[in-house]
């Protein structure tokens, strides 16, 4: 086996040194009746060339070469090649969590820079070293708010990513955190009147997403005012990190729960991604996740360590702030490098290009179909309502190697024939024109026909 660095002679010498005859003696603690005496029924050992072939075949069956208008929490942005060149350095790729600070200063300094940039971009005082993803970050933020306020209830906007809400619902059930839903108005933004009625003195936090699931930018200031006046905390989830280049960050929030996938992380069929929590100084000891801090060595030289570890499970066990153990260090490093490459000016210019593509697309779509929520500003995503079932339109788009918008009835039955479209800097004008053309054709030919088609995908309606 090519990963195993031993000859038969080495093994024999080692057995002799240990003083045993056969390696099976080492497995004698396992009662004989549970020892496996056959080969595992899994594929035979393969050559590297066969492995590469197998995965390339799978890639071919997997929409290789399609252009996509999908967003909804997973965004297609250009990834500078320096990212993969650097994260594949063995010293980053094959090192462990930096508990031994003297031997892991590279990882620790990188985390410190990551924390600095995320704090700066989100408008918070500080950020942690990363969480699993945006959905678990939002969930951990709600639990954190409950600990800080000593209250036990969350008000959650329906315009938060449905799968994030699904994860929150799973955790909340067992933490006995009641969740109250808030709907959206015809602008796609949170219904402030409903919010005002829903937030009371038992509410620990309000969770919203901005830009929200429909791409609409929320009025964070107004929501913060309603939230804070009852002593609750405001949590803002951000799923499209590139928006931070041009959209004012939610400075009025108490916690920002972010998905940073847009910053240089491959779509990768949904993971691994990079969640992050950012918050105000005063809440740091209630925040889960690892933190790198600056300090000095005994000669006064600057260095970095993992700090405030007493919040974590390996010390506090059942009283820990969370059961989280790993972070997403390597993915956070991709994010870190992306932020460094674009930096202060590039992030703004990148966001502007995204905005321009979206403005062009909404303008073109609105000539043939109905673009919903157009009263409020949006970033990258917008909702197009058609007369025909969007699954049927998407089936025709696939013939042009284009993946159309996400039919919203997957999560929101009331939306009927509306779909969520997404443009980024990678979406070309000609692709937009082709898609708009096909939608226009559909509008002309099937006015009023909203029958379901055989192309429908399974639906997930969040509880």
């Amino acid at each position: 086996m090519r990963y195993l660095p031993k000859s038969a002679g080495d093994r024999a010498a080692m057995l002799k040194a240990i003083g045993i005859r056969s390696v099976d003696d080492l497995f004698s603690p396992i009662p004989a009746e549970y020892r496996l005496t056959r080969d595992l029924a899994i594929p035979r050992q393969m050559a590297e060339s066969e492995i590469v072939d197998w995965f390339k075949q799978r890639a071919k069956e997997n929409g290789e070469g399609y252009t996509s208008f999908l967003g909804a929490g997973a965004y297609s942005h250009y990834r500078p090649v320096v990212i993969d060149a650097l994260v594949q350095r063995g010293e980053f790729l094959t090192s462990y969590t930096p508990y031994q600070a003297e031997y892991a200063q590279g990882t620790l300094q990188a985390i410190f820079e990551f924390q600095t940039m995320i704090a700066e971009l989100t408008g918070m005082d500080l950020a942690n070293a990363s969480m699993y993803d945006g959905s678990t970050a939002a969930t951990e933020a709600v639990m954190m708010a409950c600990r800080i306020t000593g209250r036990n209830g969350a008000v959650v906007a329906r315009s938060v990513h449905p799968e994030y809400r699904g994860v929150l619902a799973t955790y909340a059930t067992h933490q006995e955190i009641p969740l109250r839903k808030i709907s959206f108005t015809s602008s796609g933004q949170i219904d402030l009147k409903e919010l005002d009625r829903a937030v009371d003195n038992d509410t620990a936090c309000v969770l919203l997403q901005s830009p929200n699931f429909f791409g609409t930018i929320e009025d964070v200031e107004a929501i913060a005012e309603i939230t804070h006046k009852r002593g609750a905390l405001l949590i803002v989830s951000i799923a499209e990190a590139v928006s931070l280049g041009i959209v004012e960050p939610p400075r009025a929030a108490d916690i920002v729960a972010m998905e940073a996938q847009s910053f240089g992380v491959p779509l990768g069929f949904g993971g691994p991604y990079c969640g992050v929590l950012a918050t105000k100084d005063k809440f740091v000891r209630q925040m889960p996740g690892r933190l790198a801090g600056q300090t000095v060595d005994k000669n006064g030289k600057r260095g970095f360590v993992l700090t405030l570890a007493t919040r974590e499970q390996h010390i506090r066990r059942e009283k820990a702030t969370s059961n989280i153990c790993t972070n997403q260090a390597l993915v956070a490093l991709m994010v870190n490098i992306f932020m460094t490459v674009y930096g202060k000016v590039g992030l703004r210019e990148l966001a502007k290009q995204n905005l321009a593509k979206t403005a062009y697309a909404t303008g073109q779509f609105s000539k043939t179909a109905k673009v919903l929520f157009s009263d409020a500003p949006c970033f990258n995503e917008f909702v197009v309502e058609t007369s025909e079932d969007p699954y049927a339109i998407n089936a025709r788009l696939l013939g042009h190697k284009i993946v159309g918008g996400l039919p919203l009835k997957k999560f929101y039955p009331e939306f009927g024939n509306a779909a969520l479209w997404c443009c980024t800097e990678l979406t070309t004008r000609s692709t937009i024109d082709t898609a708009v053309g096909l939608v226009a054709e559909s509008e002309r030919s099937v006015q009023g026909n909203d029958a379901r088609t055989k192309d429908a995908e399974p639906e997930e309606v969040t509880r």
């Binding site: 390696v23 090192s95 700066e120 990768g268 600056q294």
Partner: protein, 496 residues
């Protein structure tokens, strides 16, 4: 003092490097966007008061500076690629490069999680094939790949057990956890709303079966056991333990952190385990990457299948694969989308590269390596439990602490010898633990260098304990002031 040589490592020049913000100056750039093919927009008109005016202290640097910056930082890290990384319970094995290659193949790396099933058959096939392999390896009946890491796998497993008990009419109140357990076990049990009850180990470092019998009753939802446990000891009474739990309607949860001691040699499903998680970043070679990403699939017995997180992968009547969301008894979602897919490709590539014979040989070599180190250091370091070791061995600093030198000091000195430290001060049942796990990836030469280094350090403790206490001596920085870092945390850079 006798001169102690470090055959493995030599000091060499290491580049200094400041923070990226300290290199920034206006006008430098590492990016270039293509010309816009659509009309430019007036951002203030589009966004109004939502427009951001400044990006504060974000850096402005060129591409070569970025390459040098991160390359320099990287050289300050130790890594498996540089040598043995003997962290016990962490399983720092070789991370094959073909894993990285296949996870970056276009079509997989660029696949959107919501793209139509019709053009997701490749990704679905990867999910299905990996699931089938892991079910066979564990001897279980079904699996979810969704959990993002081991701790979330634990959570998912406990949620399913809770849902199962609820369906039987009583969710039950507590989880039993041996005192040797990893800290995530009690933390997870608390997250799910269970009370944690400690279970004492016996003098052989195993679950005390009599104590378990006494503590077991209808309030106990499950026992969470790690097998082999954190001492590297196989729980020889595992079937008896499972029997005791099942008799009273409880379930047996196995923390699969140490599954690398069993793959191809024994299957948890065969010895009575009902639920277990796997750490793909331990047993199945996906990279640790400085602390993540992990991936924590949970394998289960048939009785728990209705409670799997949704969606699950199904084979449709036409033979194609698809997702099934209609799962009324499901515990729900634990993560958006389908889990850390990129780790699935890597783990599956590893399984393919090994096959059944390779996986078995891997396990045998891991156990052989641990026992070779045990033999080499017996008598030099105290061995608190004589029970046979599987994939890792736990010593204590009992001998060296008489000179005032503790496990952490020994570990810091090991750095000077060119090795990463072993795991210190864990498991909690061994005061001053040195927990050593070589994995199968170490050649005989590296093992001998490690044994030589550990023996040399033991001699240094006798000759000049202060020298060991002051270690490391050869790193870029000496021991850092962790107290100052925790008292007045500096968690971000700020312009002075």
């Amino acid at each position: 003092m006798k001169k102690h040589t470090t055959r493995k490592a030599t000091r060499h020049i290491s580049q200094n490097e400041g923070l990226i913000f300290e290199k920034s100056s206006p006008g430098k750039a590492a990016w270039k966007l293509p010309p816009l093919d659509v009309p430019e927009v007036d951002t203030s008109k589009l966004l109004g008061s939502s427009e951001r005016k400044t990006l504060g202290s974000m850096p402005e640097v060129s591409e070569i500076e970025i390459i040098r910056h991160f390359t320099r930082l990287s050289t300050w890290n130790y890594a498996i690629d540089l040598g043995m990384y003997p962290l016990g319970s962490c399983t720092m094995k070789y991370n094959p490069r073909v894993n990285e290659f296949v996870s970056r193949v276009e079509g997989l790396a660029n696949a959107h999680p919501y793209q139509p099933e019709k053009i997701s058959q490749g990704a679905l096939r990867i999910l299905k094939t990996l699931s089938d392999c892991l079910i066979e390896i564990t001897g279980m009946d079904a699996i979810t790949l969704q959990p993002a890491a081991g701790a979330q796998g634990e959570l998912t497993g406990l949620l399913m057990m809770r849902a199962y008990h609820q369906s039987q009419g009583n969710a039950r109140k507590k989880i039993l956890i041996p005192d040797s357990a990893h800290g995530t076990n009690p933390a997870t049990a608390a997250t799910v709303g269970y009370a944690v009850e400690n279970l004492k180990s016996n003098d052989r470092g195993m679950v005390d079966v009599a104590a378990l019998a006494a503590q077991m009753n209808e309030d106990v939802a499950a026992l969470m056991v790690t097998n082999p446990n954190t001492l590297g000891v196989f729980e020889q009474k595992i079937h008896k333990i499972a029997g005791l739990l099942h008799e009273k309607g409880g379930l047996l949860y196995m923390d699969g952190a140490n599954m690398n001691a069993l793959v191809g040699k024994a299957r948890p499903g065969d010895f009575g385990v009902d639920v277990m998680h796997l750490n793909l970043h331990k047993t199945f070679s996906t990279p640790h990457g400085g602390g993540g990403p992990g991936s924590g699939p949970v394998a289960i017995k048939k009785i728990l299948e209705p409670f799997l997180p949704m969606p699950i992968v199904i084979t449709k009547p036409d033979g194609t694969l698809g997702f099934e969301y209609n799962r009324p008894q499901s515990v729900g979602r634990v993560r958006a989308f389908y889990g850390n897919f990129g780790m699935f490709t890597r783990a599956l590539a590893y399984i393919f590269a090994n096959g059944p014979d390779g996986l078995r040989q891997t396990t045998e070599d891991a156990v052989l390596n641990a026992n070779y180190i045990r033999k080499g250091l017996e008598g030099v370091y105290d061995l608190p439990y004589e029970t046979p070791s599987m994939h890792e061995v736990v010593f204590s600093d009992k001998v060296q602490s008489k000179k005032g030198v503790r496990t952490m000091d020994l570990a810091k000195r090991l750095i000077d010898y060119g090795f990463h430290p072993y795991t210190t001060a864990f498991p909690l049942i061994v005061p001053g633990a040195l927990m050593i796990e070589p994995t199968e990836s170490e050649p005989l030469e590296e093992l001998d260098l490690f044994i030589e280094a550990m023996k040399s350090i033991a001699e240094e403790v006798e000759e000049d304990p202060q020298f060991v206490l002051d270690a490391p001596h050869n790193t870029r920085i000496s021991r850092l002031d962790e107290t100052a870092a925790a008292r007045k945390p500096i968690l971000r850079w700020k312009r002075e």
